[in-house]
Every structure is written in structure tokens, then in C-alpha cells.
Subunit: 204 residues, 2 copies
């Protein structure tokens, strides 16, 4: 069995975009199985007393983040277009992603959502956009959207978000190894993968 | 003339500790002159509506930060001891550091303060501690402390903090290149140094 890392991400999150576009190749190279875990940051932020993205609540931090993101996308040759509005409503995409994880097209769908949102500036909260992305992947849109609205999928997204909070997650993307080690941010993605495969023994 | 990078740091800041202990060697290796710019985060946080460290205001983020810092210190073989209380009062050390920058012993003093605070858990807000650190560097403590209390030095620290805010700085450590590019965090230190020496031409 390959060691695994849980990749917790939020579709509205800028650095989750970069991580999602890169984690597949990096996981393969490291010999790590990456488990895609879409969750919602909103409830976690609200529990901390925030009603908006920290990048909107702190303008200087927000200005920096957009510049930093542009630099990172340029370095990794990822297209970048700032979504408007930001953050985008991510509930629908997150529910559909859980359907996809269950049915085997989850990763491709997640990458398609992120590319549409941050590469093309499309409105991922609109059902028509999600519909088109599903069709583009060869997934029948209507059944997938219907299942996304089911109580079972709604509950799965809620329980994933609750699990993220229990694991100590406060931002996205975050990575959790099998031994419970938490890494926050695209900046820690490589470190999380390396942690997952490091030899047993005394740990820092 | 070697290209330069301004290194803005705050003595109470955990990631500033790691950056301060590493930036000298990395700057030399990159051929970059590092200008040490001690400033205060407190006024900048207060202007954003925060009256404490974000690591205290957001407990999950704080718990993560201490774990992340321990991992980073282990990797770079830096001693680590969590200061109590956190954050430490940094005003006195920041003023003395400006004296030191002026008189040629600034970098050594800054490293000594950070090592005492985060490596040994000493109280850097106490004048006796700063006194002992100065003596350990062969700097006469009384004249340095007297000058640190002068209006000129107080004003220099205030103007450095105001300059940091004008440059868009919202956290520490931060790095600013000669062309005004801002990089936030120990995570971006190597990138800031590389930016300073990259060839002219189209930029991201």
C-alpha cells in the first residue's frame, strides 16, 4: 500500500487552485496516494468570527495575495485570471465534487472547476457552468447534479468540513498525513508528501 | 554595487526568528546585500483592528504555527523554545537594534535577541536581558541603552514602521526588493533574494 495524504481544499481558495493543478504529478513522483477532500471554509471561518475571506477583510494582505498568486502561476505556467466576485460561491461545486469522488471522476472535475474559475474567470457558482464542465468531461450532467442535491451528498460535505475542523484545519489548502501531521498551504505541499514517505523513527 | 533586499522583521515574530538566523548566509550565497530593517507589527495590526497576534486570536492557527515552527527549526537545526508570554514585548529590542544598525553591530545584536528569545526562552522585554546581550557582543550597554531612549532613535523606529506600512507590509518577516516587489514570510525569503538578482526584462 502506498502511503496517503489527505488533500483538503476549498473551491473558492486561490492557493487551493495552484495546489490542485500540481498535486497529482507531485504525488505520483513522491509515490504518495493523494485523497481529494473537498470541504467548505465558510463554516470554519464563521466559527472563528469571520464573515468573509481574510483577503477581503485585510486589504493589504489581499493586495499582496493577488500579486503572490500571479507570480506563482507565472512560475508554474498556470493561467491566471482574477475571479469577480471573489470569493466565488463554492457550495454547488463542492457537492458535485463529492459525487465525482464517489464515482471516479472527482479529480478531473475538481481541476476543471479550478481552471474555469482561476484560469478563465468563469462563475463556478452558476449551475449552467458546472453543467458545461461535467459535459466537457463526458459525465452526464443531470444525474450528477441531481445526486449533488441529495441529502446523502449534502451530509458528506458537512461531515468532511466537520472532520477538517477536528483535524485542526483553519485554511485551505491543507494536507494531513496518515499519522495526523497537518500542513497548511500550497507552500507546504511538497513537505507534506515528503513527510508521508519518510522512514519511521524519531520525529521532530 | 550588489543588488539589495530590505529585510523587515519584528522581534516578537516567530518566523522572523528563522529568517534572521538564515538570511545572512543565503544573502551572501545569492550575492545580495541584505538591509536589516527592524520595525513594529503592533501599530500595523492595530490599524487593521487587531489587538493581539493572529496566532493568539485564532487558536487553531496558533496551534498549527507552533508545530510548523518546531518542524522548521528541526530542519534547519535551530534551537527552539516557545517564549512565555507570547508575543514578547519587542519595543526596547527594536530601538536598540536601530542603534546597532547605525553603529555597525546591528545584525549581531538582532541574531542575539532572536536566539535568546526563541532558542532559550528569555524575556527580551527586560532591560537586564538586553543589557547582558549587548555586553556579550562587546558593546558597551549603558551608552547603547541611553541612545535607544533618545528621540532620534524613537523616531527612526516610528518612521521605519510607517515606511513598512506604505510598502504594503502587513506581517513579518517581509522582504522588499529595490524595484518595490514585496515578499511575505520566511517561505518567500529565497524567492526574494532570487528576484533581486534576476536579469532585467519582462517580469511576471
Amino acid at each position: 500500500m502506498r502511503p496517503s495524504v489527505d488533500f483538503f481544499f476549498e473551491f473558492a481558495s486561490t492557493y487551493s487552485y495552484v495546489a490542485a493543478m500540481r498535486v497529482g504529478a507531485l504525488g505520483d513522483a513522491a509515490g504518495v496516494q493523494v485523497r481529494w477532500r473537498p470541504f467548505l471554509l465558510g463554516p470554519i471561518f464563521r466559527a472563528q468570527g469571520f464573515d468573509n475571506s481574510p483577503f477581503n477583510l485585510q486589504p493589504a494582505k489581499g493586495r499582496y495575495m493577488w500579486r503572490d498568486l500571479a507570480r506563482i502561476c507565472a512560475r508554474h505556467e498556470l493561467p491566471f485570471r482574477r475571479p469577480d466576485p471573489f470569493p466565488q460561491p463554492s457550495l454547488l461545486a463542492a457537492r458535485v465534487a463529492h459525487v465525482g469522488v464517489d464515482e471516479g471522476w472527482g479529480e478531473a472535475f475538481c481541476r476543471a472547476v479550478f481552471a474555469a474559475e482561476f484560469g478563465e474567470g468563469r462563475q463556478i457558482g452558476e449551475e449552467a457552468v458546472v453543467h458545461a464542465l461535467l459535459a466537457g468531461l463526458g459525465v452526464a450532467p443531470e444525474p450528477a447534479l441531481a445526486r449533488a442535491r441529495s441529502d446523502a451528498i449534502k451530509e458528506r460535505l458537512r461531515s468532511t468540513t466537520a472532520e477538517a475542523e477536528r483535524l485542526g484545519i483553519f485554511g485551505a489548502p491543507s494536507f494531513v498525513t496518515a499519522d495526523g501531521e497537518l500542513f497548511w498551504g500550497h507552500d507546504r505541499m511538497a513537505e507534506a508528501l515528503a513527510w508521508a514517505v519518510r522512514p519511521a523513527g524519531p520525529r521532530a
